[in-house]
Symmetry: C2
């Protein structure tokens, strides 16, 4: 009997068919995990490679299972950039950890929509529990209401929408038109673009985002923040939100949360903390001081799908003001009223209907995946893995500092280093003066070349940023499988690419 | 060696550990799929049941694998409402189909973030292909730009944000303040709450949503739409968007798309089509006429994770104006510029960086899951399954029509029926007149009782709505595993619950 014959004309494939194919897929994944270190990190695919091999018209008839798996290997895999590679050192890495994949398999198979408590009580209550577990581990209070959103982009948008809702004259019915003065939101110039995007989406306008200068260590300057707020008040604008970033995207710098908290309280405006990347680091007592004060913030986001080894999507949003979030988002049409014909007699004491705390009505069972990850490693296991990453980062910083032709360009409080290659002064320009901008352009070009060469080599993947105008290489550790040897390989690749420049 | 000993202190569990546990999980899922029909559809969990059994403090040490799986069975599963149950007939059902689970397993394991083309070229190009496949199958033109969002809530929000962006005086920098007149958006009074939520989130205000009355069949009245737009123009407001729903949530009614298209073009305003549920039905030639005209709409949403047998999250958004969507959303910070140190020399002809077309920067490999579903069944297989559901729905409508004590309350063009129990006139009130409102209250109470009894019984799960003030039962077919016998069981449950009322 061929595979095609086994596909029934109606209904789903059988559970037995799932069993057979599922075992095959598990072996495929195990082989992938085993061999991922040997694949090029950054895909070598060229634009259109996959488009050329997958037809523009979908199949009329069922595709044979083995053909599909062969296409996966031959057509899809060459086009995958391996975020799971231990030498994925660009952006902020993520990890589909073993328990994360296992939990997600089950969550996908159950596929409940946790929009209402009753549409899957376990999804809601497990979400309460796992958000609570993480809160305690990172020093956030039980009083904060926790929820799982899909991404930090959405978590921050929800927080900023709640901040808007708390502007005294804001009325949801009238929207932005109800505001008597232009709203203003304050972030460091190093903040993530998602904050600006939230302002755009919410219709506050990109101009509503005031970018506060940073200090030498790329942390927000609280004096400049106070001045900006005062200037806006004087000009008749309405400051309504401050966003503190603990672990910025370019340098992982840490805004002065305690001082920002004082300012927010004085000004009676919402303080949102974006700790999407670095938040889990608060599990380490030695790094907790960076976070001290966030427990009093109005809202906090941290992402298990970044540095807590959980596959996408998993972003935790905590707030002291769930009522305000609900005021900003809740809309309950008749067909979602669960008190009509309720089977539980006590609808008052029900756990939350999470659909009322965000944009999406559809809510997958993300708590299950996170529960598997947290349970499998336990608090101590997670903490020691994070500490490993921080220690490896410090080692790398040491190598950079020890090298005559490289320099670090920012502190590295967590697991990322910003640095660049800076070769000795270039050829004399004739008048004995090496112009600064010419020199900077040369250095930028050198570092672009190094990055391109390393990434094309396939053994490591780095990304870049720009700090005070200087093109900067950036190496961030975040994948659970990254080991010291991987870091050494990456550093070798970088120094060899630099050496090749001078040839 | 105990399980706990096998958890290393650093790094991830091994690939071999994944293989062992993965096979166990596959068997667990296969058993679940095999037996799901025997479980109660609606969870019998009471508020707090899971909270009472999972501690508020997470584990310090690694949890033993078998303990975790036992907790899954004993604590989590009783709290799951089984959306995968063939007699989940509430709301709109979904399906974690066999190929959907398999595809999602691989997508989760690879875990790439497709924010940029280069961060996983295959994710971007496969997204182009599968959105193209579905487009052709449902009669949308190749010229429409397709993308996968997580939910229809987000797809519609993105579409409405693009509609706002196309208002001549709208400037993203200034946001809502740039509008010289209040914006207005038109939907039928039967439209999904996500449209109103989008207006709230975007800061347009809930008042910006004008709800147009419907005709006898619950479709939007185009005459009333024209009048509303004219009245708003006369009052100095700015009509900017019309939303046509093809398959509304309560009754699956179909708005007159061709007439709405004419109005939108005359008025030069954006037409968004919400076909989140019913869109896949356009694969059936006999139902295509309901959709005729949508190919010219400015944007269209349809959800594979509803009636196309794909596990959450999968919502397709198509538009003729990708540039406008990009103008509404694109923000590219330095660290995401992929032309710096690019390994491909030709960055101009690159496929899209999908992060520029929506809210979220994080984009999981949703195309892979959908590709598995579409390939495994093929166009004909999907079409015949959808037709099955429509035919089963017609059969149920026949049973209702044939029953003296039940009545249908709306047409059923797709796979849902709205109906109610209406027993013969109650006891004489003494003056010989049965007041209408008293009668309506009694009927409402009867139907609430029927729904509560059926749902508590666990053999089927129905939901309700309210149509022109009347409490209405609603039975919707959408799960791939629903068979004719399931429908008979559900109907038996309903008629028995009705019979029990008179006792």
């Amino acid at each position: 009997m061929s595979e095609q014959d086994r596909i029934p004309a109606h209904g789903d494939l059988s559970a037995e068919e799932f069993r057979a194919r599922g075992h095959e897929v598990v072996d495929w994944i195990a082989d992938y995990l085993q061999g991922v270190r040997d694949r090029p990190v950054l895909s070598r695919s060229r634009p259109g490679d996959l488009l050329a091999r997958i037809p523009a018209e979908g199949p009329d008839k069922p595709e044979d299972w083995h053909t599909l798996m062969r296409q996966l290997d031959d057509v899809v895999m060459p086009g995958v950039t391996h975020w799971n590679h231990p030498r994925f050192l660009a952006y902020f890495a993520n990890t589909a950890s073993v328990p994360g994949i296992l939990g997600a398999m089950i969550a996908t198979a159950l596929n409940p929509n946790g929009m209402l408590w009753r549409t899957s009580p376990a999804a809601t209550e497990l979400e309460q529990r796992v958000t609570g577990w993480v809160a305690r581990w990172v020093g956030l209070p039980d009083e904060m209401f926790g929820m799982i959103q899909d991404t930090a982009s959405v978590s921050s948008l929800v927080a900023i929408a709640a901040a808007r809702q708390s502007i005294p004259d804001y009325r949801r019915d009238a929207g932005g038109a109800s505001l008597s003065a232009p709203p203003r939101l304050y972030v460091s110039e190093q903040a993530h673009s998602s904050i600006e995007k939230a302002a755009v989406v919410l219709g506050l306008g990109q101009d509503a985002v005031v970018k506060i200068p940073t200090r030498a260590d790329y942390s927000l300057d609280p004096v400049a923040l106070s001045e900006a707020i005062a200037a806006d008040r004087a000009a008749g604008r309405t400051p309504f939100c401050i966003v503190a970033t603990l672990g910025t995207t370019s340098t992982t710098s840490v805004d002065p949360i305690a001082e920002m908290l004082t300012i927010a309280r004085d000004q009676k405006i919402w303080l949102h903390v974006d700790a999407a990347y670095a938040g889990p680091a608060a599990m380490m007592p030695e790094l907790r001081p960076h976070f001290d004060g966030w427990q009093h913030a109005d809202s906090v986001v941290l992402n298990p799908h970044k540095w807590l080894f959980t596959p996408m999507c998993s972003s935790l949003l905590y707030t002291h003001h769930p009522d305000t979030v609900r005021e900003a988002f809740s809309l309950v049409p008749e067909y979602l009223r669960s008190d009509v014909g309720a089977t539980s007699e006590d609808t008052e004491s029900l756990p939350p209907d999470y659909m009322n705390y965000g944009i999406q009505l559809g809510r997958p069972f993300r708590a299950l995946t996170l529960w598997f990850v947290l349970s499998t490693y336990g608090r101590e296991g997670l903490e020691s893995r994070l500490r490993d990453h921080v220690e490896m980062t410090a080692e790398l910083a040491g190598w950079i500092d020890a090298h005559p032709d490289f320099e670090r360009l920012a502190p590295n409080p967590f697991s990322a280093v910003c640095f660049r290659y800076r070769r000795a002064a270039g050829p004399d320009t004739g008048d004995g003066v090496q112009l600064d901008s010419v020199q900077e352009d040369e250095w930028a070009s050198d570092n672009e070349s190094i990055m391109a060469r390393v990434n094309a080599g396939g053994r490591a993947f780095l990304s870049h940023t720009r700090l005070r105008g200087r093109l900067t290489l950036r190496l961030a550790i975040g994948n659970l499988r990254t080991e010291r040897d991987d870091l050494r390989v990456a550093w070798d690749e970088i120094t060899r690419a630099a050496a090749a420049l001078s040839v």
